[in-house]
Symmetry: C2
Subunit: 267 residues, 2 copies
Amino acid sequence: MLTNPRSDRVKAVRALSRRSVRSRTGEFLAEGPQAVREAVTFRPELVRDVYVTPEAGERHAGIVEAARAASVWVHEVSPEVLAAMCDTESPQGVAAVCRVLDLPLDSVLADLPTDAIVCVLTNVRDPGNAGTVIRGADAAGADAVLVSDASVDVYNSKVVRSTVGSLWHLPLSIGASVPEILSALRDRGVRLLAADGAGTTLLHDADLSGPHAWVMGNEAWGLPQEVRDACDDVVRVPIHGHAESLNLAMAATICLYASAEARRTSR
Amino acid sequence: MLTNPRSDRVKAVRALSRRSVRSRTGEFLAEGPQAVREAVTFRPELVRDVYVTPEAGERHAGIVEAARAASVWVHEVSPEVLAAMCDTESPQGVAAVCRVLDLPLDSVLADLPTDAIVCVLTNVRDPGNAGTVIRGADAAGADAVLVSDASVDVYNSKVVRSTVGSLWHLPLSIGASVPEILSALRDRGVRLLAADGAGTTLLHDADLSGPHAWVMGNEAWGLPQEVRDACDDVVRVPIHGHAESLNLAMAATICLYASAEARRTSR
């Protein structure tokens, strides 16, 4: 059992809370049972080490079994060591060092189905929003999430936590610029729908019949004019009451579910 | 200008961060420009005092004008006084002491339209979730929000903040027990739809044609069996991908928007 919270190994894991270290090593830390369970279940080949306290090892025996079955190293650690490794205040006794899982833009696009639903995050800065949109995209059955270069790092612990495991469920590409993403989608025949409160097309009037991508803007300032202009349509979720707006995660989830419903009825 | 952060008035305002004081006085504090703007715009008769720093008074001149036009007292305060009054770390220079705005259950139900959409929150504990659901209900055009007795206090500063002003937009009743709420709705001919991941009816198959209420459970454990049994149907939002679930606010907003869409197409 690892018991020294000041050991080099603990320091190396803890250093993954810094974006620069994640970039250099190509690794990040998944904290908490839900994230670790999804990682070892869906992408075990990307999990390098699982760290678990004795107590959590008993409570989450399934995670430990799944990890061992996939030949992932499982290390028993003291609660102090786990706390020293993690960014989260209460990691619930388990964490895993994982390889990053994003793919080049072209390879994600090459694998899209003919009735693809894609979610594009541009300039999204709040970790909770980014993670919740990824979770919503997963739930709605989206085929890919593309995150532009000026957005929050998806391997930030708060993003990882708020995806509640969805990070490991669907193809993800990060780091391309917004123009690159839009033009690559257009080249593949994917219709571009800007989701914006300034849109003139209401969601229920939008054409969701073919492959399409929802382009979401920054949580505070929305999408800049040039991005809206580059899209095929600018769509807004109707506000029926007096609310000023919906938040980004809610708007994205409603749009993605409208796409899922259109796909369900056409299949 | 009020400049003494230790004055009795400041202490009395600050005390509104305690639920017991809010209950006794029937008052709560709205913090930040968005909440104060909606309060003085939509329910000025419920606003007792607006407190504003000189700098915020200039930046949000519209709020100050609207308050004065509605004969609300506006007090200039130093930033230190405002900080001492508020629960929020950065109240952005403005706050207002407001009368609580909930109504008795019977009077909310008496005013429902014949194609009512109602949102019922039972045992919701997280302030951010409760506030975001109220915001979503407002955006979807719901006619009332009913919050059961065992839920978070809607006048908690975090709930108020996360409603982003929607608290003042739609009829609200709080404090009745879940059985009371369900039986009062049933007596009014409102169909009861439990929203729960354990539901056998998928959202797109649910009957949303008449007046109906979405009954939402606790964020962690959902709805207890007896509440599901007391409803006319148990409905789940389909999960198309591998996500384990949607969070409460997302599920509620998707259900409420499905209701709004059903109402739009039938009107």
